[in-house]
Every structure is written in structure tokens, then in C-alpha cells.
């Protein structure tokens, strides 16, 4: 799993490249948690899922766990560019109740609002 994390305004953008399952969940969890801990001012989380071809319940648990942290910071979680198969799994798990979907980074940033 390739994980790239950058900050844009008060959001963390996490770009994943690989399959999000039990084999990769721990690494993603650790990297994102460390970035969140190091960026106390960040309150939104954008998952760029363009290069994630597979997700299962172990991957969903990673997304849900980070949602709890973002919720504590009164922020939003966005799923950016999720491919159709991944989107279906997210929807089936009811994740649209805790995260919004976006097709472009601009759209994602607009969805979290103009705060900086």
C-alpha cells in the first residue's frame, strides 16, 4: 500500500494506492493517526480513493475509526474519487451517513467549507 498524506488548509488529504484489507489496514491506521496527532489544527479528513481497487470490512473499520477522531474535532470526512466497486461497498455499509462523496479535490474542499 502506498500512502501519501498532505495538508491543505484545515484538511488532511490521504491518498491511498493499493487494496485496503487486513494486510494493509494497520499501516494506514498508524500513518493517518500519526498525521492527525501531529496536526492538531486539522479537523477534516479527505480519503483519496482513486487508486483503491478493493476494500472489505477491515478497510471499512479503518475509515470508521478515523471518522470518530474527526467527529471529535467537529470536522467532516470525504471519500474522494471512490471507484464504483469501492463505492458500492461503502454504500452497503451505510458509510454515506458518516462521509460525503466527491469527484474532485476542489469539490471536496468546497464540501468542507471555507474555514481555514
Amino acid at each position: 500500500m502506498d500512502i501519501a498524506i498532505r495538508r491543505k488548509r484545515n484538511a488532511l488529504i490521504v491518498s491511498l494506492d493499493g487494496e485496503l484489507d487486513l494486510a494493509t489496514a494497520a499501516e494506514v491506521k498508524e500513518r493517518v493517526d500519526a498525521a492527525l496527532a501531529a496536526n492538531a489544527k486539522v479537523n477534516h479528513l479527505i480519503w483519496d480513493l482513486e487508486k483503491v481497487g478493493f476494500i472489505d470490512s477491515s478497510g471499512l473499520a479503518v475509515l470508521l475509526g478515523r471518522y470518530k477522531e474527526i467527529q471529535a474535532r467537529s470536522g467532516k470526512v470525504i471519500a474522494l474519487r471512490a471507484l464504483e466497486p469501492v463505492r458500492r461497498v461503502l454504500t452497503m455499509a451505510g458509510m454515506e451517513r458518516i462521509m460525503q462523496f466527491a469527484d474532485t479535490e476542489e469539490q471536496a474542499l468546497a464540501q468542507i467549507g471555507g474555514k481555514r
Binding site: 494486510a23 472489505d56 470490512s57 466497486p85
Partner: protein, 147 residues
């Protein structure tokens, strides 16, 4: 009458998370001998991933054991069996309930819900202390194209 087994593959591997991707991809490749759509192959991948992950996470919890995955084609139907010799499930009915998990801090209890949703058939045979056998089957939704 006994159904003829048209093809069969058996895989055995240690319960390492790194093998889960191999197992689901191999089963999907095997399944593509039937007329499954790409969406259905994705569903099969998820079901296999969930069953094998459960064997790793719950079956062998922290220890390492052997997982066996058997794929069969009988007629127009794919059958997949995932077996472990781990701790087993004391209440299978409860394990199948949506959101039921024995690890509420870490997990959501969605795995078996996905398997039930994505496969036509799911039968779990388990004995505490002995292990778990998860049987799943699925047929392609579209009718077979004869060439």
C-alpha cells in the same frame, strides 16, 4: 444423483494477512470460468476476503495456523469452502447477526453480512476448540452464453 465436479482447486496457506489478497484473487480467477459479471467477481472477492480474514483474525487470533480454501465448479455454480482449525464459534446464529462482533472496539461485525448479501448460499459449520468451515456458493445471474 451425484453432481459431477467439473473443476476443483485447493489452496492451503498459513494464516498470514498477506495471503488474504492472494486467496480472493485466486478464487475470482477460478470463478471467471463461469459467466460471472465483473460486479459479481468483485462480490466473490469480498466474500472470500471476509471468510479468510475471519479465519486469520478470530479463528487463529494471535497464533498461526493453516487455512484451506477449496473451490469447486459444479454445473453453473461456484462453491467455495474456507476452513480453519482455530477456536471455533460457540453461537453461529449470533455470529450471523448484522453488527454482531466479539471485538466491538476494533470491528463492525459486517463481514458475514457481506458474505450473506453477496453469495447465494452460506453455511457455517463450527465447533468451539475445533475450528470453522464456511461454505458459500454462487451462480452467475446472467444466463450462460453458449459458443
Amino acid at each position: 444423483m451425484m453432481e459431477t465436479i467439473e473443476n476443483m482447486v485447493e489452496m492451503r496457506f498459513p494464516s498470514k494477512a498477506a495471503n488474504i489478497g492472494f486467496a480472493r484473487t485466486a478464487v475470482a480467477l477460478f470463478a471467471s470460468q463461469l459467466e460471472f459479471t465483473l460486479d459479481e467477481l468483485d462480490e466473490i472477492k469480498i466474500a472470500v476476503s471476509e471468510a479468510v480474514s475471519n479465519a486469520v483474525i478470530h479463528g487463529y487470533k494471535g497464533t498461526e495456523g493453516e487455512i484451506t480454501v477449496i473451490c469447486r465448479l459444479t454445473g453453473n455454480r461456484l462453491e467455495v469452502t474456507v476452513k480453519d482449525e482455530g477456536r471455533g464459534i460457540s453461537n453461529v446464529q449470533q455470529a450471523l447477526e448484522p453488527a454482531f462482533t466479539t471485538e466491538p472496539e476494533e470491528r463492525m461485525g459486517l463481514g458475514l453480512v457481506f458474505v450473506r448479501e453477496y453469495m447465494d448460499e452460506l453455511v457455517i459449520d463450527s465447533e468451539p476448540g475445533k475450528g470453522t468451515c464456511v461454505f458459500m456458493a454462487k451462480s452467475p445471474s446472467q444466463t450462460r452464453v453458449h459458443s
